[in-house]
């Protein structure tokens, strides 16, 4: 009798365990099926293609240059270059903070610009951040449009620049008018004298940034099987987060 009972318990536990696995999985499926339907991606063919083209560009051109640059130029110097360009981008952050009525933030940006441009030697050193704990408030036109309720629109993968969307691409073009390193005629301030120099300067910035960021990109690429959906998701989630703050 005891023997029979223990066999019964044993068999029923085993049986229950294997069936439960299927039922458990079903109860989770509903957590995941909803998100997939919301994807509106009219340019998906082009976006996939461009992701591939960009990937080849990064792998065969940009990253080799950035890695070579990284070998020659010590991290401190590269950070200073990064700081310099970050500081230069002040007008964009300043105006967009104002447009979003973030007055305290725009004032802090102004403080940062003044301190870092003077004490921080033309922006090479982030004195305001490291010594005075006055931190950046990154805003751009895309975020401003998002702040006022404009949805991102469909996803667009830009050549070289990578993931973007309809709203942020418009924002990017708008920001060019404020960006000192982009040459704009008849504007009061310009870092360079013509389009060619401007392109050179921008390229330098891209290479410098790549020397810091290439590892992250390679880690994302190697951990995944199809790259485009991953980059798209990361981008959109990141932008949503930036707009909220």
């Amino acid at each position: 009798m005891k023997f029979f009972l223990s066999i019964l318990v044993f068999v029923s536990v085993i049986f229950a365990a294997s069936n439960v696995q299927d039922d458990i999985a079903d109860s989770f499926d509903s957590e995941y099926t909803q998100e997939v339907k919301q994807d509106f991606d009219p340019l998906s063919g082009y976006n996939n293609f461009m992701t591939n083209v960009n990937d080849k560009f990064y792998t065969h051109i940009l990253f080799p240059v950035a890695k070579g640059y990284k070998k020659i130029v010590p991290k401190g110097a590269r950070t200073s270059v990064s700081n310099f360009f970050h500081n230069l981008f002040f007008p964009v952050r300043f105006v967009n903070n104002l447009l979003q009525l973030k007055f305290k933030n725009s004032f802090e940006e102004l403080e940062r610009f003044v301190i870092n441009s003077t004490v921080g030697v033309a922006g090479l050193f982030d004195v305001a951040g490291s010594k005075m704990k006055i931190y950046p408030h990154n805003e751009d036109l895309g975020q401003t449009l998002g702040f006022y309720g404009l949805g991102g629109g469909f996803h667009i993968v830009l050549p070289i620049l990578g993931p973007s969307n309809l709203r942020d691409t418009v924002g990017l073009v708008g920001d060019w008018y404020l960006d000192p390193k982009i040459y704009v005629e008849d504007r009061g301030y310009n870092l360079t004298d013509n389009d060619t120099e401007s392109f050179g300067v921008s390229s330098f910035n891209v290479i410098n940034r790549a020397s810091f960021d290439y590892k992250k990109y390679e880690a994302i690429k190697k951990g995944n099987v199809v790259l485009y959906p991953v980059l798209k998701d990361l981008y959109e989630k990141h932008r949503d987060k930036l707009i909220k703050e």
């Binding site: 591939n52 951990g223 485009y228």
Partner: protein, 196 residues
Amino acid sequence: MKKIIIVLLLIFSTSLFAMQSDDVKSSMDTKIHKALQILKNKQETTEEKAQKIFKIFDEMFDYNLMARLSLGKREWMNIDNDQRKKYVDNFIKLLKESFIEKLKLYNDQKIKIEDFLKTRSSRAILKTSIVDKKDKTEVDYKFYRSKKRGWIIYDVIVAGVSIIQSYRKQFADLLQNNDFEEFLKRMKYSSADNNA
């Protein structure tokens, strides 16, 4: 009387080693601490460190469920047991390779364990964050309570992106243009050929 005791013992013995909810937070804390110690060791390769870390964390993950969810119910039902086994093996390999790549980015960041919140009686989220000099990246672990193993992980959400959701999209993409056998081959990571 003896029979009752035996039956009761049988029932409760399965939950003896299961993780109770208060334990989860402290258990993960301990494990993460151990993992960071391993990572700080300059002598070993990333591979060696990763294998040690897997030994510590394997018991916290329900790899089978993660694989099943990443494939989706329809496809899972369409394939036979042999294919399922191959798929799960490939999936676990992909998941672990992906993790090893992320480990290479480790640069003395700190990991903060924030909270273990129950969302339902058998579901919970462990909120943690990776703190760098300037950035803070949120990493959430979704737990469910399994009868046999207690609280175990079925999804990880990094910076708002669920890895199960991400793999679902990627696998759905691949399966649109390839049959299952081809898909099994292409599941290997780092394939630019898969973007087409």
